[in-house]
Subunit: 121 residues, 2 copies
């Protein structure tokens, strides 16, 4: 049996459920692509669950590694300052967990290319 | 000579220049893909230019059609409520302009697929 891996999609959060829909849609797509992964969404503010709660839930399910995907267009203050603090606290709470943080989803070169393609179609 | 077209990338805005970098990078990629288009970034708050100022600048440059690309992951309040008001005001200020508004850049199916791919790589 391989070690269970977790993926957390971390977004800003909004009172508006419509705002969350695409993040939840990405989580659904990840579940189809990686049936071995346990996937959760987590938010900085305005909606639940928090990052801390989502990570604890995945750890309870037995994950050994955690990948954090910042669902932001750019590495602004939330991804650059708020998230590292949350990751550090999670690492202290779960010292055995191996945590990897990707860069903001919108900053990958493929995303920039796709956004440009969609804009000129 | 074909009618000049304008493209405005409309984002939330941030005091943090790093936040804007990917939006400006998308604008640069659009200029390479569509040399006939005039491209501008515009922001709801916290940084310049405003949507109104960006549109006026493009109209002064002679654009006849305007495509607005909401640089948001999801159609939350900003894309669903704030932006339509700004578009309506721009239409009143420039009655000849043909304005088209795309849906939020992060909600296109290709973007959801790419975000999932990047998350499981």
């Amino acid at each position: 049996m391989t070690a269970m891996r977790g993926i957390v999609l971390f977004g800003h959060g909004s009172r508006d459920p419509a705002w969350r829909a695409p993040i939840e849609a990405v989580a659904e797509r990840i579940r189809l692509r990686a049936p071995d992964a346990v996937v959760a969404c987590a938010y900085l503010e305005l909606c639940q669950p928090t990052f801390e709660a989502a990570v604890s839930e995945l750890v309870d399910q037995g994950i050994v590694t955690l990948r954090v995907v910042p669902m932001f267009l750019g590495m602004g203050r939330h991804a650059r300052e708020d998230l590292p603090g949350l990751v550090q606290a999670a690492q202290q709470a779960h010292p055995q967990l191996h945590i990897e943080v990707l860069r903001a989803i919108g900053e990958h070169a493929q995303a920039l290319d796709l956004f440009a393609d969609l804009s000129v179609l």
